[in-house]
């Protein structure tokens, strides 16, 4: 069977990444703020497993702390998307065809119509570049994603008899949405959340790459890549390791998301 393999690989990669982030709270091989210019661009090996960067900082330590940054940005961004998008989607579905539904859906389309990176740049132009603003920019674009997924999932549930039964039992739309709809689209939301999480990591990397994400001295994978770009032919390791960290993490999360979808979907179908 292939599905668990995919899921396990994804889970292992994701767990590795989360573990590195947690570990970095207590211990890193070197301090990431400590510059040692004389020790710069050391190849992997010796005291520095993954070498040092152009300031002589330990790349492994930076990657570990960078994982924390990525997680923080992605978690909050997905959180914003869910916190706003899910209620909107639930409301829209509960009042299908109403003005509210129309406004939510058109609003969604409108947000989708805006080029996301451009808006992110505009946001940072307004508030200045920082990890927080990167979160905000990514989070805003997560809202319609979750609103749409929620509404889509909820609409099909609203046609089911048990929702009708709940209405016959005199329950209001709000209560039904919370009690019957939300609990049954949790699967969908988890899967979508995983995907958005990995997209958030990619987006943070992209924003940091153009200098709009987390600010130094806070390490960020995207900025590590950006900083190392010109050095790639001189000291390939300083560009390769952050790149690999992004690829493997995103890969892990995507595999996990897909694996979960495969795992959860058939059961959903059977229940319906």
């Amino acid at each position: 069977m292939r599905l668990p393999g995919q899921l396990i690989l994804g889970a292992v990669l994701s767990a590795l990444f989360i573990a590195a982030a947690i570990l970095s709270l207590f211990w890193t091989p070197y301090a990431v703020e400590a510059l040692e210019i004389s020790n710069k661009l050391k190849p992997p090996g010796g005291g520095h497993w993954l070498g040092t960067d152009h300031f002589g900082r330990d790349i492994l330590s930076m990657l570990m702390v960078g994982a924390r940054t990525s997680i923080a940005v992605a978690v909050v961004a997905v959180g914003i998307g869910m916190a706003v998008g899910v209620p909107l989607g639930l409301l829209a579905a509960a009042n299908r065809g109403s003005l509210l539904d129309e406004v939510v859906m058109r609003g969604n389309d409108l947000v989708f119509a805006f080029p996301s990176l451009v808006i992110a740049i505009l946001i940072t132009a307004v508030f200045g570049p920082s990890a927080l603003n990167a979160i905000l920019a990514i989070g805003i674009f997560n809202i319609p994603v979750f609103a749409r997924v929620t509404r889509g999932g909820a609409l099909s549930l609203w046609t089911l008899d048990y929702v009708l039964a709940a209405r016959v039992a005199g329950k209001g739309k709000l209560r039904i949405s919370l009690e019957h709809i939300l609990s049954n689209i949790v699967n969908l939301l988890i899967v979508q959340g995983t995907i958005q999480f990995s997209l958030g990591i990619l987006a943070e990397a992209g924003l940091s790459y153009v200098g709009l994400g987390a600010q130094p001295p806070l390490p960020s994978w995207g900025r590590m890549l950006a900083d190392s770009q010109t050095l790639i032919s001189l000291a390939p390791h300083i560009a390769i390791f952050p790149g690999l960290a992004i690829v493997l993490t995103v890969l892990g999360l995507n595999l996990m998301g897909d694996g979960m979808r495969d795992l959860l979907d058939p059961r959903l179908r059977r229940i319906r």
Partner: protein
């Protein structure tokens, strides 16, 4: 059909009005005075004031919004603060890079994704499927700027098959221009193709499970005939949505790639516009992009009607 088109057009117009208000307001609150930026460190305050007046930056919010909005309706996008040329000319020139690049990348990604997706779906669960799915997962996970860098390093710096970037202009010859766009198009197409291949695969797999596929087989069609004759067209419907979304994404989202390859495209125009506080360029181009996205969505909807007869009646 006409009614369908008309009602869609009206909602399209409304979306544009809302979008223009949002854009104008956001741009309005961006700190940084274009005039001060243009004049640099040693400028005297009265110089800055003179320039502000010249650029038309004084005046109320509403009057400037209306001037801008009505200007756009008549095709007058205003004059760039920094370049001092009509924004329409700037955009026009950039469009000749961004649009071909987008189409190039889109064609590439479709040409790769559709056969690959079909193959994966047909060999579902087999090693080919496994390999393709793994590759597409990688394709999605690789940041495209990173991929672009690797392309430049290998094909421009090491092998010297392509230039490292830049765009000579269509008047220098179609092949030269296409060659200049090849690496950027590949860099853009890789993640898009990966997404598209996955959508193609899952859409086809879903279609393969439909009752009419069983009907087709019961008619005596081979699996291959059934897939090509019946499943593919149905499976293309969700794929088209993605292609439509990708078009708009590529048109606007190529900023980073345009930077890596120093292409004079729309994305870089915006980026540059923001850093140089050439806000009139920013708002006009963003508006144009939003318009393009809405228009493409509209066209995709129309294309649906061509593929799917169920939507042809006045839906």
């Amino acid at each position: 059909m006409l009614r369908f088109v008309l009602s869609r057009l009206i909602s399209l117009g409304l979306s544009l009005v809302v979008a223009s208000l949002v854009i104008f307001t956001v741009i309005e609150v961006i700190p940084g005075d274009p005039a001060a930026f243009m004049l640099g460190l040693n400028a005297a305050p009265d110089t800055v004031a003179a320039l502000r007046e010249e650029l038309g930056l004084s005046g109320s919010y509403l009057s400037r919004y209306l001037a801008w909005a009505f200007g756009m309706l008549t095709g007058d996008f205003g004059t760039s603060y920094t370049y001092r040329v009509p924004v329409a000319d700037l955009v026009g020139a950039r469009l000749w890079v961004s649009l071909p690049l987008t189409i190039y990348a889109l064609i590439l990604s479709t040409l790769i994704a559709v056969p690959v997706g079909v193959l994966a779906a047909a060999r579902r669960g087999g090693p080919a499927d496994f390999g393709i799915m793994g590759a597409t997962q990688m394709g999605i996970a690789i940041p495209n700027f990173w991929f672009a860098m690797l392309l430049v390093l290998i094909f421009a710096v090491k092998l010297r098959w392509f230039g490292a970037g830049g765009f000579p202009g269509w008047d220098r010859g179609i092949w030269v221009s296409l060659k200049a766009l090849t690496l950027p198009a590949v860099a853009l197409a890789l993640p898009q193709a990966s997404i598209l291949a996955r959508v193609m695969r899952s859409s086809l797999i879903e279609t393969l499970g439909q009752d009419y596929m069983r009907t087709a087989r019961a008619k005596g069609l081979t699996q291959r005939q059934a897939v090509l004759g019946h499943a593919l067209r149905n499976a293309l419907i969700p794929v088209m949505t993605i292609i439509g979304l990708q078009f708009s994404f590529l048109l606007a989202g190529a900023i980073i790639i345009e930077n890596v390859f120093f292409l004079p495209g729309l994305g870089r125009l915006i980026f540059q516009g923001i850093t140089q506080r050439d806000l009139i360029v920013v708002e006009s181009v963003v508006m144009l992009l939003v318009f393009a996205v809405i228009l493409v969505t509209f066209l995709v909807d129309l294309a649906y009607a061509v593929i799917d007869p169920r939507l042809r009646r006045a839906t």
